[in-house]
């Protein structure tokens, strides 16, 4: 009985790195991971929306997680990957590519090993964090990717865009 309970309770996460830090997303949200390909930039959009790629005939938007999380953008390396995830935006499911410095592994984590997001000290917008996972190697941050594209966030796109166009003009 206990064993069955454990299996049901254990969640799987895909871990990846951004600026030396380890992050994770729920595996159920991840559709696939592909190597970095050329991303076609869509002009006059905020820089965290880095563009679109061709995923077997579909046009899939790609976001730069570094910029969303307030880190500096870096040159792409051989380790750079695109995590294709299924996210919900304003009630509609869509495919989204997320740039990661490198993809690590799929891990099983017991829910008891996940703490709520810290109020202070993560240097990140806590809105994007679902929790902190604990492993022997240390902590990792579990992202809430649905909130990354939430209506509020996208609304601020307009403001960023206006600022950007003022700056560039």
């Amino acid at each position: 009985m206990d064993q069955v309970g454990d299996i049901v309770q254990t969640d799987q996460y895909l871990t990846f790195t951004l600026a030396e830090e380890t992050f994770a997303v729920e595996i159920v949200k991840v559709r696939e991971v592909i190597d970095y390909v050329h991303v076609t930039r869509v002009p006059r959009m905020p820089s965290f929306l880095c563009g679109v790629i061709n995923l077997r005939g579909s046009v899939v938007p790609v976001i730069d997680l570094r910029l969303i999380l307030g880190m500096p953008s870096i040159e792409k390396t051989v380790d750079t990957c695109v995590i294709i995830a299924e996210v919900v935006m304003d009630g509609d499911a869509l495919h989204l590519g997320m740039l990661a410095d490198s993809v690590q592994e799929v891990i099983d984590i017991d829910p008891s090993q996940i703490d709520p997001p810290p109020k202070l000290g993560s240097m990140l917008d806590t809105e994007f964090i679902r929790g902190m996972g604990k492993r022997e190697e240390g902590f990792f941050i579990i992202l809430n990717i649905d909130s990354v594209l939430s209506g509020d966030e996208m609304a601020s796109v307009e403001a960023i865009k206006a600022a950007a166009s003022r700056a560039s003009a």
């Binding site: 076609t40 002009p43 006059r44 005939g57 938007p61 509609d92 869509l94 003009a169």
Partner: protein, 713 residues
């Protein structure tokens, strides 16, 4: 139960089509009351609606239709003339039946009192209809008559060889023939061969025989029933000729000779003999005395009926849900993309063995694409006929006399475009009726005919279709528009605008010049919605208006939303597609091109200055420009602009992919496409680029002014 619902649904669809037909035809009749063909079409539609309504247990529709049918029957037999009242009642009938059909879904119950009123007024139109034809004429009894309009309609040849004593039994053959006519399309030829000379004629003896070719859905039994009282003394031969080989839709049109042989009127050998003499077969046969001329006429009329029948069979269509078509289009898009990729690989490898089949596949893909896209094409006329009714009703309501003239109804457009175009067109036509065309007395005072004209035309122009709405009304009041825009703060009070720019103001949100809000138009939500819808169809809108003489609105729309012809260009490290329909020419930006040496943003194109829009600036690219740039001159809503790009690559046929929700605010880009090498190229939204270029320029000017002021202070 499910099956029954399905049949009912089929009935509703068919009935909706019939109602559409009724509306179209009655408006045709209004224009030309002498059009017998239209009157017959109207009668048939009402009759079918009655018959099938009864079959599906919708007795209210059947009874209602019966009332109208009785009146139309009199019109058909010229006992009653077409009147305005009858046209109004027919249209009212059409609306009420529409409500009855969809009462279940829409929740709008048909107005029983209104129906009663229509029936009463219809009765008043033909006072004697009670006695004449109150007994409902035969309702088609074939169960599938409606759902399979072509399948169950059968053409019969009826040979009615009367017995000389026919009259003695009290039978009037003319009535029998009338009864046959009521079953369907009927061609009757009488044979006078046996009629003796006048002095030998016995008036109580029947000398006539008839050949009847009848196309009906009623079935063999219904025809037998007609002859039930005479079949003992007369020879009645009924033969189904639509199942004959001569009615096979793939077979060539039946030849007269075949029919005559088939009917046994002429022996094959005789026919062959005559055919060897190259002359009109019918004439020859008559001349040589082998058969009488009436037999030839009879056979000829059969030939015509059968030919018509074949035409109908050939026009047979299949009803397919549009989502299946959408899936097909999507798949086709993938195929075209993949094919482009394959071709590129074949070119790169330079392998001849590979090149030949790839080229073949290329051709097949192109053909397939054309055919599949063509399936979605529909003539725009279906939408046009709706507007006839709109104009008629609204002009009546507003006491104006307006005629709607349509041209180019056969112009084909993608179904999606047509569907989404309907609302904007309704709005524009309403505007023309309400604000454009004046009241008759005003028109006469202005020296115009009392009856105004609204012209609705559609023509192909390159890769787009231009739909124009032209009225001969009072035109747009430019002074009032400008005043209003200033009042509403839509433009600065001291601005100086050209006529064109003033007219464009009416597309701004929240703009309406009508001082009075009627229920027709003028709530100030109109034109900006029209503009947005046309923009979303990747179309453009253009207004010309002369005070006193009228207004012309041109809508240019792409033929299809799935694929566009584009020009591929390089800007920075990415490639972009410019819709080919907007492109006028491409040129290199050499130094002598510039209009003046100081103004680097203007070039001379054939003597006229054209402003430049640098895509690198718009896209915010900072890397160094190539030494020699190229300009693509485009025409965006009457504004010519040179788009500066790094390099023009060439023509590209583009399958359009949506950028998705995340990029719905990207207003420079209307979509994306996947290139042969697997990369994504973006499709430019020219109107959006011009908009952005203008706002960039405006903010630059403001900044400069501020800088100057602060320097002065």
């Amino acid at each position: 139960m499910d099956g029954n619902d399905k049949h009912l649904e089929t009935f509703r669809q068919e009935a909706d089509e019939l109602l559409g037909e009724i509306e179209t035809v009655i408006l045709l009749i209004e224009e030309n009351p002498e059009d017998d063909d239209a009157i017959n079409r109207l009668f048939r539609s009402v009759h079918t609606l009655k018959g099938s309504g009864g079959m599906f247990g919708l007795t209210d529709i059947a009874n209602f239709s019966h009332g109208l049918e009785s009146v139309l029957d009199k019109v058909r037999s010229k006992k009653l003339a077409i009147s305005r009242e009858l046209i109004d009642l027919t249209l009212a009938y059409r609306d009420q039946v529409g409500l009855m059909l969809h009462a279940g879904e829409s929740g709008v119950a048909p107005d029983a009192a209104r129906v009663e009123e229509i029936v009463t007024r219809l009765r008043a139109l033909s006072p004697s209809s009670e006695t004449m034809s109150d007994a409902p004429s035969p309702i088609p009894s074939a169960p599938a008559a409606l759902s399979l309009p072509h399948g169950s309609v059968v053409t019969y040849r009826v040979r009615f060889n009367s017995h000389p004593s026919l009259f003695v039994t009290g039978t009037e053959p003319a009535l029998l023939l009338d009864e046959l006519r009521s079953l369907g399309e009927c061609a009757v030829v009488a044979h006078f061969d046996d009629v003796p000379a006048l002095e030998d004629t016995d008036p109580e003896t029947c000398h006539l025989n008839w050949d009847i070719v009848l196309t009906t859905a009623s079935g063999l039994d219904a025809i037998r029933d007609v002859f039930v009282f005479v079949e003992d003394i007369c020879k009645i031969d009924i033969e189904d000729i639509s199942s004959d080989a001569i009615l096979d839709p793939d077979a060539p049109q039946p030849r007269l000779g075949d029919i005559l042989v088939h009917r046994g009127d002429v022996a094959p050998a005789d026919l062959h003999d005559q055919l060897n003499r190259q002359s009109r077969l019918g004439e020859l046969l008559v001349e040589s005395g082998r058969i009488s001329s009436t037999k030839v006429i009879s056979a000829l009329s059969e030939q015509q009926t059968v030919a018509r029948q074949q035409l109908a069979t050939k026009n047979d269509s299949v009803r397919v849900p549009s989502d299946k078509l959408d899936a097909l289009i999507n798949l086709l898009g993938e195929l075209v993309t993949n094919q482009a990729r394959l071709s590129q690989i074949a070119r790169n490898t330079g392998d001849m063995v590979l090149a030949v089949p790839v080229e073949e596949a290329d051709r097949l893909t192109d053909e397939l694409r054309d055919i599949v896209l063509n399936i979605r094409m529909m003539p725009i006329g279906t939408t046009f006929s709706r507007f006839k009714r709109l104009v008629r009703d609204l002009s009546g309501e507003l006491d104006k006399q307006i005629e709607l003239v349509t041209e180019g109804a056969e112009t084909e457009l993608d179904k999606t475009v047509i569907d989404r175009l309907a609302d904007p067109l309704v709005h524009l036509i309403r505007n023309s009726i309400d604000h454009g065309v004046e009241h008759p007395d005003e028109r006469i005072a202005a020296g115009k005919p009392a009856k105004g004209t609204i012209k609705l035309t559609a023509v192909h122009k390159g890769a787009s279709v231009v739909i124009s709405i032209i009225d001969d009304g009072k035109g747009l009041d430019k002074v009032a528009i400008l005043k209003k825009a200033k009042e509403k703060g839509l433009v600065p009070p001291d601005v100086n605008l050209s006529d064109k720019e003033i007219l464009a103001l009416i597309f701004l949100p929240g703009f309406s010049t009508a001082t009075k809000v009627t229920d027709v138009s003028g709530r100030g939500v109109g034109m900006d919605v029209v503009k947005r819808e046309i923009d979303s169809l990747r179309g453009s809108i253009d207004i010309q208006s002369e005070t006193g003489t009228g207004t012309r609105i041109d809508l240019a729309l792409p033929l299809t939303l799935a694929i566009i012809e584009g020009l591929l260009v390089h800007v920075g490290e990415d490639r972009y597609v410019i819709p080919l329909s907007a492109i006028e020419e491409c040129l290199e930006l050499t130094a002598d091109r510039f209009a003046t040496t100081s103004a680097r943003n203007m070039i001379q194109v054939r003597g006229t200055p054209v402003p430049l829009v640098r895509l690198r600036d718009i896209f915010g690219l900072t890397d160094p420009r190539p030494p020699l740039e190229q300009a693509v001159v485009v025409d965006v809503g009457q504004l010519r602009v040179g788009l500066v790009v790094d390099q023009v690559i060439g023509n590209h046929q583009t399958v359009i992919k949506s950028l998705g929700k995340l990029y719905r605010k990207a207003d420079c880009i209307s979509g994306a496409t996947i290139m042969g090498d697997g990369n994504v190229a973006l499709i430019l939204d020219l109107a959006g680029i011009i908009r952005n270029a203008k706002s960039d320029e405006a903010s630059a000017i403001i900044r400069n002014t501020e800088a100057r002021r602060s320097a002065l202070v």
